[in-house]
């Protein structure tokens, strides 16, 4: 009964439930109650929130308890929270590190208490201290956008990039993008007229995009380092009435991003699957607790979504 209520509450995350319902490795729900912690980096980002929701659903279905900690992107706070989780005696930790290196001290603590840690999305550097790194292939996501933009502008174009150079995943997406251009030998044809930091936020991307089109009225495409950034660009261009002339690309495959694909304001998004990340992580931590050995590094695929295939994924939730 209780489960139903939870599901209703998270009705916007339908695909989450589907993903879990299709899952047949689910262990018996009767097993003694386990306690897990999801130590995320921030809940300001729908991506992280969705991973949390998916983990919550999985835990609910298996009668496990899940505690969610949000350090608001502060490494020091995250360390405190992981410590608190360990103090509480959790059975396992899903960790989305603020920084790959910064969490080492708590990884050591967890290791000394034999608490398995699975790092999600942002791989930790000290792989020997975690059970596994489970991450999206962000480099590939950038690569997908690079390929898409080459396909859309075979003769090259003036492009603007709104990135987030302080976030490792975003840096990978930028590097994948550049690599795609290089591999196709198109680096010279694409002129990057502006490259600015909007800290992956819609609000900050909006004025930056406005300013970029003022300074470069002839810009032909925007690459937003994630969907919120791309949506910020869309909002800016809509207000300036320039939406038709400029193509916009994003990374994430968020519900809002997919909605934008549907009304053709967004050209392409390179989708990652937070639900997939959550599922993979959860399955693997159970394996570790059962004494099985698992891969140290598990990549969850990223793939292209555009207007042609957006309906396969639906716009109500993540994939």
């Amino acid at each position: 009964k209780k489960k139903d209520v939870v599901n209703e509450n998270t009705s916007t995350e339908e695909s989450t439930d589907e993903a879990v319902a299709n899952d047949d490795v689910t262990p018996a729900a009767t097993e003694s109650e386990r306690k897990f912690a999801y130590c995320t980096s921030t809940l300001n980002n729908p991506f992280m929130t969705t991973i949390g929701d998916a983990l919550q659903t999985l835990c609910d279905e298996n009668g496990d308890e899940l505690i969610i900690y949000d350090p608001q992107y502060d490494q020091a706070k995250q360390i405190s929270q992981v410590e608190d989780a360990i103090t509480q005696g959790v059975d396992g930790i899903f960790l989305l590190p603020v920084d790959s290196d910064g969490v080492k001290s708590v990884l050591e603590t967890a290791a000394s208490k034999n608490i398995p840690v699975i790092a999600i999305d942002n791989p930790v550097t000290d792989t020997d201290l975690v059970a596994a790194n489970v991450a999206s292939d962000n480099f590939n996501a950038g690569h997908i956008i690079g390929e898409a933009i080459i396909a859309d502008f075979p003769d090259g174009a003036k492009i603007a990039i709104i990135d987030s150079p302080t976030m490792v995943a975003c840096v990978d997406r930028y590097e994948g993008f550049v690599a795609a251009l290089e591999e196709a030998g198109m680096t010279d044809k694409f002129e990057i007229v502006a490259k600015q930091d909007a800290q992956a936020s819609l609000e900050k991307a909006m004025p930056i995009a406005e300013n970029i089109i003022q300074a470069n009225p002839d810009v032909q495409a925007f690459y937003g380092i994630n969907d919120p950034t791309a949506l910020g660009v869309i909002a800016a261009l809509k207000a300036a009435d320039k939406l038709g002339d400029i193509k916009i690309y994003g990374v994430d495959g968020s519900p809002d991003g997919k909605a934008a694909l549907k009304d053709e304001t967004l050209a392409v998004t390179a989708a990652q699957s937070p639900v997939g990340l959550a599922k993979t992580s959860y399955e693997n931590i159970l394996k570790v607790l059962n004494g099985e050995t698992i891969e140290k590094s598990i990549a969850v695929d990223t793939f292209k979504i555009d207007a042609s295939n957006v309906d396969e994924y639906g716009v109500d939730g993540w994939q």
């Binding site: 998270t10 916007t12 809940l43 300001n44 729908p46 929130t49 150079p165 007229v193 502006a194 490259k195 600015q196 930091d197 936020s201 819609l202 609000e203 909006m206 004025p207 930056i208 406005e210 300013n211 970029i212 003022q214 300074a215 009225p217 919120p228 949506l231 910020g232 869309i234 909002a235 809509k238 207000a239 300036a240 519900p255 809002d256 909605a259």
Partner: protein
Amino acid sequence: MQTKNQTTKKETNIAIKFFTENLGILGAFVIIGTIVSIMSPVFLTTDNVLSVGRQISTNAVIALGMAFVIILGGIDLSVGAVVAFSGTLCVGLINNGVPIPAAIVIGMLFGTAVGFVNGLVIAKTGMAPFIVTMSTMNVVRGAAYIYSKGLPIRCKEDAFAIIGTGYLGSIPLPVIYLAVFILMASIILSKTKFGTYIYALGGNREAAKFSGISTHKIEISVYTISGFLSGFAGVVLAARMYSGQPSVSSGAEMDAIASCVLGGVSMTGGTGKIGGVVIGTMIIGVISNGLNLLNINSFWQLIVKGIIVLIAVYVDIIKKRRLLKG
């Protein structure tokens, strides 16, 4: 004939007063503007000017409320959180079928209510405004996350976006709102009893009390105004973003305070003019816009912004000192 002459003279006087009052900061503004426009030819195009106007509108509206609060001798750290919640609430209500105008009103009322609570607690308990509004900042931000489950809410009704993205003639609506609020705020501060009481309270609380001014009422009203303006800004910003974002505008309080201080509002209360605050906001907006136009790396932007603000305030101090002597 005579009346006309008089009006002109009066207007000139006001203009002169405005100039002398804001000499330093106006100078700083002109210098910054000149530098940017030399380095980037698009800076002074109508398009860009209007676009900057729209960009600063949110911050400027918040800064107006903050100016009231600081002149009163207080501070309001909850403004950013209120922006986030009122926008998110408004979009959430629209998506749940509440008529757009009603949702807009409720969104703004929510901000107003937070301001009222701030004022009430500060007035009745005598607690430091810093700590009270920091607490409501946390509470309101938390509430915004809970209401939206931490996720942005995309607005289903396109009509809503108009209030943030529409135009009146060729002027963006947010700029129009801003102009109206600036006018109202300066009239309230300089022409009404209420305005005088705000200065009185900020300048010498005891004197205000001894003059029979009900300090509680003034205090509550001022925080309520700040809450209302933040609520308003939140709704308009949500319309501009086509969505309610619970994490938006964190740190907006700092920008608003900086605008006020840049504009000559003293942090200890009792002094300051709306004209200065508007220029202060414009300086911060123009710096951001200019640095973006010049495609300066965001890390360097932080440094440049820090230094420019410092210099602008310094120039203002020097000029004012000279004025006092000469």
